[in-house]
């Protein structure tokens, strides 16, 4: 227990008037002890048992009031700062009941607490922005990743398209070559048809020559010569046709 209560022996001694000096010395010793405890930081001690003693009551009250206000301030300041250290700013030091330097110091501490609150609010705001930014960066990164995937897909598809184009070009080239070959073959066939027509005309003329033999003996030699020339011509054309036919080939060889 912190309070020091004067014992009844001391009171009796005073009443008897036998040991007033000892009584005074004891009270002074008790008060000194309490003040020394307070000086060591023990603010629990109080003086009790002096009410009604006009010589000591004012002193006891004064010391107790001094200790009460110091005790109160220490508890208040410590608790308020502890709350601030936990980012809790709802608990100021209450000014009511504090006087003089205690009140002024409490106001200074409360002002510091308010500044700490403002700083804390700013830090929370910055942290919020940082979190938001991080979230946005993550979103952008995800979008970039998605874009990269899309680009890769497009590249793959473009590559496939290029192959298809190359194949189409190759097919078109082959088709062109086939058409060219068909064209060449058609021209050769046309020439063959012309030669066949020429042969037919020559055969016609042979027939005409044979008819002329029967009509004119004089014309026999000439006719024979004509026949021989025609036969030679037919022979030559036939040979040429054979060669042309052999060289036509047709689209089947290098066809599409």
């Amino acid at each position: 227990m912190g309070a020091i209560t004067l014992d009844t022996d001391q009171a009796s001694a005073v009443a008897d008037g036998t040991d007033a000096r000892a009584h005074t010395a004891n009270r002074i010793a008790d008060i000194t002890s309490i003040c020394e405890r307070a000086a060591r930081g023990d603010l629990e001690a109080r003086i009790t048992g002096m009410y009604g003693d006009p010589a000591w009551e004012p002193l006891a009250l004064a010391i107790n009031r001094m200790l009460d206000i110091a005790d109160s301030f220490v508890r208040e300041a410590a608790a308020a700062m502890e709350h601030c250290s936990h980012d809790e700013f709802h608990r100021p030091i209450l000014l009511r009941g504090l006087k003089g330097a205690y009140r002024q110091s409490a106001a200074v501490i409360n002002h510091a607490g308010l500044k700490m609150k403002e700083s804390s609010d700013q830090i929370r705001y910055i942290a919020h922005l940082a979190t938001e930014t991080a979230s946005n960066v993550t979103t952008v990164a995800a979008a970039c990743e998605e874009l990269t995937g899309s680009t890769s897909e497009i590249s793959t598809q473009a590559e496939g398209s290029a192959k298809l184009t190359q194949e189409a070009v190759s097919v078109a080239r082959k088709a062109t070559e086939a058409v060219g070959e068909l064209n060449t073959a058609a021209k050769k066939v046309d020439k063959i048809v012309t030669l066949i027509t020429t042969i037919a005309e020559a055969v016609g003329r042979i027939n005409d020559g044979a008819d002329a033999i029967s009509h004119s003996a004089s014309q026999q030699v000439q006719a024979t010569s004509e026949i021989t020339r025609s036969i030679n011509e037919v022979s030559q054309n036939t040979s040429l046709i054979s060669k042309r036919i052999g060289s036509v080939g047709g689209p089947g060889k290098g066809g599409v």
Binding site: E44, R75, R91, L94, R96
Partner: protein, 187 residues
């Protein structure tokens, strides 16, 4: 104003007594709640002599109108080693009453060992008191619905916790929010 230190009238009148804004009612108890010190303001307002009050349990000044859950909250908080603020209606020896804004803290010796409790009581601000009176009336009504004390206490506590939960604040935040004079931006 009543006598500074001596016993006050024990007449059965019921009136509200006051103390000055710059005064603090101070008392100390041991761990069992037995009063070991009461300052001169305490003695004057509560109407006890030092001889009468030392050694008495602190609930000697408890007023029956204060919901029981308030004291449960107070003692639970103290026993957990924390301070607590509470608006409390106290009863003087003669039946008079006085409102206080109590700040109760555990006391420790120089080795950090708990030795008791310390109470500073200030004059409450009027803006808070109006809200507190209304709240306490509701809590009393809730507690009085239950005949069994334990159930009454639990019902009161549930109402307090529900109020705090509804407003998403702690008890500390709540009690300091009741007056603009107890908020950091205003003091």
């Amino acid at each position: 104003m009543e006598s500074a230190h001596g016993p006050t009238s024990r007449a059965a009148h019921r009136r509200e007594v006051h103390f000055a804004d710059d005064e603090i009612i101070v008392s100390k108890t041991n761990l069992k709640g037995i009063i070991t010190y009461a300052n001169d303001v305490f003695l004057r307002v509560a109407g006890y002599t030092e001889d009468e009050i030392l050694g008495e349990p602190h609930n000697v000044i408890r007023h029956p109108d204060v919901p029981r859950c308030v004291f449960k909250l107070l003692w639970d908080t103290l026993k957990s080693g924390n301070e607590i603020f509470a608006y409390v209606l106290n009863q003087a020896r003669n039946g008079d009453h006085y409102w206080v804004f109590a700040h109760v803290t555990p006391s420790f010796d120089l080795d950090g060992k708990p030795t008791g409790y310390h109470s500073n009581r200030r004059v409450p601000h009027a803006d808070a008191l109006a809200a507190v009176k209304a709240l306490y009336a509701q809590l009393r009504q809730e507690e009085q619905r239950h005949a069994e004390p334990a159930k009454a206490l639990d019902a009161g506590m549930q109402m307090v916790l529900g109020l705090l939960d509804k407003n998403s604040i702690t008890y500390d935040e709540f009690v300091f929010s009741l007056s603009k004079h107890t908020q950091l931006a205003s003091v």
